[in-house]
């Protein structure tokens, strides 16, 4: 029984399973939208790391990234997409079920 449930772990979404990306999705699920700087300060990731994780999440269709300007300064705004919201929920349920939490 336990083995059967644990088997589900192999089917977990690997894009979300990475701790930094999971944390990013958690932040974006709590805030309607957040800019790059906000996520940088909140997660404690380096700029390069954060940037690469955001790109991966965007490629997977889990987040939407809008690039704009505030005055002359560029600004990157990230938002959880409906697909991302669904994927996060599924991941959460799968993990809960697999570990019988």
């Amino acid at each position: 029984m336990i083995g059967e449930n644990l088997h589900q772990l192999t089917a977990l979404d690997r894009v979300i399973h990475e701790p930094a990306r999971l944390l990013l999705l958690c932040y974006l699920s709590l805030a309607e939208e957040a800019d790059f700087l906000f996520l940088l300060h909140q997660t404690g990731l380096t700029r390069g790391n954060l940037s690469s994780h955001l790109t991966k999440l965007e490629t997977a269709g889990y987040i939407e990234i809008h690039k704009g300007y505030i005055g002359k300064k560029p600004q990157t705004i990230c938002r959880l997409s409906p697909t991302g919201q669904e994927a996060l929920q599924t991941y959460r349920e799968s993990l809960k079920e697999a570990l019988e939490l």
């Binding site: 958690c26 932040y27 805030a31 309607e32 939208e33 700087l37 906000f38 909140q42 505030i70």
Partner: protein, 216 residues
């Protein structure tokens, strides 16, 4: 570095605290209290209504939230970024706003009592008005501290209580004590907010808000 002990409630708390890092709220509230105290002091000494002062005093509560937003856009967001909250979190923040409204309401209460149209009936024989007045602001900041987890507000609450009770215990006329409570509270909040803002600006220099140069 990622914190391995991070959980969802902690993240929510961290996001809430993010709003209060800069001390702008205290500066605006403190300035308003100082302005109110100055107005009443001038009103008692000159015995005339100072109209422009009065208009500014009444206008500040209306413009304080847009003013805070305006300041945050220029000072806070370029340093630590910005997040927009969903409706659920906005509801939580509305509670905080209600507390702030209570703080402002208490000041309007002072105005009323001071003008002789409100508390005057009670104040001839009771001395509770300054005492209640001295406790309102500390209570509001204590609540804010519990709600947001910002420890600085606990310190403000203590300082406001000590200064407020000290002013309430003075052997001066009621009006002077109310003005003293307002002025001291304004001073504590403005100075506290200013120190917080200076430390905030030093700790967080203006950063690039974009991920543009990082992406391949």
């Amino acid at each position: 570095m990622l914190n391995p002990k991070m959980n969802i409630p902690q993240i929510e708390k961290q996001i809430r605290q993010h709003t209060f890092l800069d001390g702008i709220l205290e500066i605006v509230l403190g300035s308003w209290l100082l302005l109110a105290a100055a107005y009443f002091w001038m009103n008692t000494t000159t015995n005339n209504s100072i109209l422009p002062f009065y208009i500014l005093l009444m206008l500040l509560p209306l413009i304080q939230f847009p003013l805070i937003q305006w300041l945050k856009k220029r000072v806070t967001y370029p340093r630590i970024g910005h997040a927009k909250y969903p409706a659920k979190t906005i509801r939580q923040r509305q509670w905080q706003n209600m507390i702030i409204a209570l703080v402002l309401g208490s000041v309007i209460g002072y105005i009323w009592g001071f003008s002789g149209r409100g508390f005057a009936f009670f104040t001839s024989s009771f001395d509770w008005v300054p005492l209640v007045g001295a406790c309102l602001l500390p209570a509001a900041f204590l609540y804010l501290s519990v709600q947001t987890g910002v420890r600085r507000y606990l310190l403000f609450s203590g300082l406001l209580l000590v200064t407020g009770l000290g002013a309430a215990a003075l052997s001066h006329p009621l009006i002077s004590r109310l003005i003293a409570i307002m002025a001291l509270a304004g001073l504590v909040l403005s100075l506290g907010g200013l120190i917080t803002l200076i430390l905030f600006v030093k700790r967080y220099p203006i950063a690039d808000m974009s991920m543009e140069e990082m992406t391949n």
